[in-house]
Structures are given as structure tokens and as C-alpha cells.
């Protein structure tokens, strides 16, 4: 076991023990639920009201750990893993994001402001908003 780092789709960073015996990038089940928002239930991998069937549970979990590479494959999410530095980044598949964009719903996000305070886009719901992307480069 060694300490690994996971960046989830929302840009949140979490540390978890990465198993060396099982799977490609396996983390404890408890950490998995906190990091991804998904839950492993008898009916499959679930988030909100949606569950995805798991055909081969043995390749996903050994009951204490869950392989997040296999999790990403089953739930059609993207994952990039640096096995040497024990870092994984989870993100949305292009098709999922493209479909979500066509709903025209403004997705929420939470980021730090320049004073370090966490601010959510939804803090300004029910108001007109101009979202500007800029940079120092």
C-alpha cells in the first residue's frame, strides 16, 4: 500500500491508500464513495437515481477496495493514471459532456476566489450571469 492522489471531475483532490495487490488503481471503498460520489450497491454502481450494472464484480472490487480504472470503464468516464507517481485524474467522457451541453443547463462548479474563499456558480442562481474566462497568459 502507498498513498495515492486522485483528482475528481470537479477538481477536488483526495488522498487514498492505493492497493498494490488488486486492480490497476484500487482505493478503499469508503474513499471511493467520497471521491467519486458513486456508491457500490447490490444492483451495481449507483449515483443519484442511476445504477449501472456490473457484469464482472471480481475485476471491480475485492470487497475492501475498488479499482477506479475498472470503475471508469464501466461508467464510461475518462481516467488518466500515472502509476509511477500514484496519481489518477477522473473526468467526463466527451459524449457525456456534449450531451449535457445540449440541455443548455448551466453546470455548477465551486472554485476558490483570490482570497481563498470557496465560491459556487449556484451562489448566484436566479440571476443573470456573465461568466468570463480570462488568464494571465
Amino acid at each position: 500500500m502507498s498513498l495515492g492522489l486522485i483528482v475528481n471531475h470537479a477538481g477536488e483532490i483526495a488522498h487514498a491508500e492505493v492497493g498494490s495487490e488488486f486492480g490497476q488503481f484500487a482505493i478503499p471503498l469508503n474513499d471511493f464513495e467520497i471521491i467519486t460520489g458513486w456508491k457500490l450497491k447490490p444492483e451495481g454502481l449507483c449515483i443519484d437515481q442511476i445504477c449501472v450494472a456490473v457484469r464482472d464484480p471480481k475485476s471491480l472490487t475485492n470487497q475492501t477496495e475498488i479499482d477506479i480504472v475498472e470503475f471508469a470503464r464501466i461508467t464510461n468516464q475518462n481516467i488518466v493514471v500515472d502509476h509511477v507517481r500514484k496519481i489518477a485524474a477522473l473526468g467526463e467522457h466527451a459524449d457525456t459532456r456534449s450531451e449535457a451541453m445540449t440541455t443548455l443547463d448551466a453546470p455548477d462548479f465551486t472554485l476558490p476566489d483570490i482570497h481563498g474563499k470557496q465560491v459556487s456558480f449556484s451562489d448566484f442562481n436566479r440571476r443573470k450571469r456573465l461568466l468570463l474566462a480570462w488568464s494571465s497568459w
Binding site: G11, N78, D82, E92, A94, T102, D113, L131, S136, W137
Partner: protein
């Protein structure tokens, strides 16, 4: 919302300019991912029903780079004023969907490599940055024409974002037909 891994640069500028709106730092380009920002400076409009009513498009604050971008910044400003004051939009939902820039898998995977690079860079601030550079290079190979990747990476590897590398990139991008935002608000002929 600044697409920047360098908090200090953002904080200094926002403080100096006495900005009154919330200024957020998006070091992992989460919002670029969610809203389809492929370059800066760019805008999205969201209405009182939390719906996107104008897609991501170039939105320069001034005409400082007009000779390069061929964009008259006032066109967007005027459309914005009209919408804020009267609620009148220049695009209906069908047009918003038509002009959205949808991501492909290469760009999505490039963003993940970039996120890992940013984590590695923060971890090794004083030391060896070869691991971080490895992931930045992977990101650039996957999305060689995305400005948030190509130009956004430059300050992370000590490259001048207005230097030779940048103009080399602009050459490649022009040759590929200047892919990016589709709408082209305020675009003027030379």
C-alpha cells in the same frame, strides 16, 4: 474566472484593477471543461432560469489585440448591455446549440493530463519538474490546437506566451483553419 495555475498573477492583477466581481481561480480548467472554453478571453451568458443563453465565444475586454484577433470588442459589449437591460437576446436556443463547441475525447484526456501536471508541479515546486512536463507534453500531443492547453501550458514550463513558441503555435493553428469558437461575435474583415 481565471484559467491559471498561477494564483499570484491573478490575485495581483485583480487587486490592482480593483475588480468588484467575484474572481475565481480555475487551475485545473474545470470550467473550460464544463462550458467549452477553448481560449481566453471568452464569455458565456446564463439567465435567471440558470440556462445558457449564449455559448462560449471570444469576448475581448478591449481592442488592445484587435489587429491580431480582428475582433471589435464593442459588438459583444453592446449585445450584453441590451440583454442585461431589456432581456433581449441575439440568439435563440437553436442558435446557442448550433454554435456550442463540443469537446472530443482527445481534448478531454488532454485536460486530465494537464491536471496531473499541475498537481506534480505543486508537489515539486523547487525540484525536478520532468514528471510535470511529461504530462504537459502528453496534453499538447492530444490537443495541439486548443489554446487553453497549448498557450496555457507555456507559463508552466517557463515559455513566453508572447514569444517565438507562441507565434509558431499561431502558425500551426492558422494553417489548420483557426479552429475554436464558432460564433465569431464582432469579427471584422481586415
Amino acid at each position: 474566472m481565471a484559467l491559471d495555475a498561477d494564483e499570484t498573477a491573478v490575485r495581483e492583477w485583480a487587486t490592482k484593477e480593483k475588480l468588484t466581481m467575484p474572481v475565481l481561480i480555475d487551475k485545473f480548467h474545470i470550467v473550460a471543461d464544463l462550458y467549452g472554453f477553448v481560449n481566453v478571453s471568452a464569455s458565456i451568458w446564463v439567465d435567471e432560469n440558470d440556462k445558457i443563453v449564449r455559448p462560449a465565444d471570444s469576448a475581448p475586454g478591449s481592442d488592445m489585440f484587435r489587429s491580431f484577433s480582428n475582433i471589435d470588442s464593442e459588438v459583444h459589449h453592446n449585445l450584453l448591455r441590451k440583454w442585461v437591460r431589456s432581456g433581449e437576446r441575439d440568439l435563440d436556443d437553436t442558435a446557442v446549440r448550433e454554435f456550442q463547441v463540443k469537446p472530443n475525447q482527445d481534448v478531454q484526456l488532454a485536460r486530465l493530463h494537464r491536471r496531473i501536471a499541475v498537481v506534480l508541479r505543486e508537489r515539486n515546486q523547487e525540484g525536478d519538474d520532468s514528471a510535470s512536463r511529461e504530462h504537459l507534453a502528453r496534453a499538447e500531443a492530444l490537443a495541439p490546437l486548443d489554446w487553453t492547453i497549448r498557450r496555457g501550458n507555456m507559463p508552466l514550463v517557463g515559455v513566453d506566451p508572447f514569444g517565438d513558441e507562441f507565434f509558431k503555435f499561431v502558425g500551426q493553428w492558422s494553417q489548420a483553419g483557426r479552429p475554436g469558437f464558432k460564433l465569431g461575435t464582432g469579427r471584422v474583415e481586415k
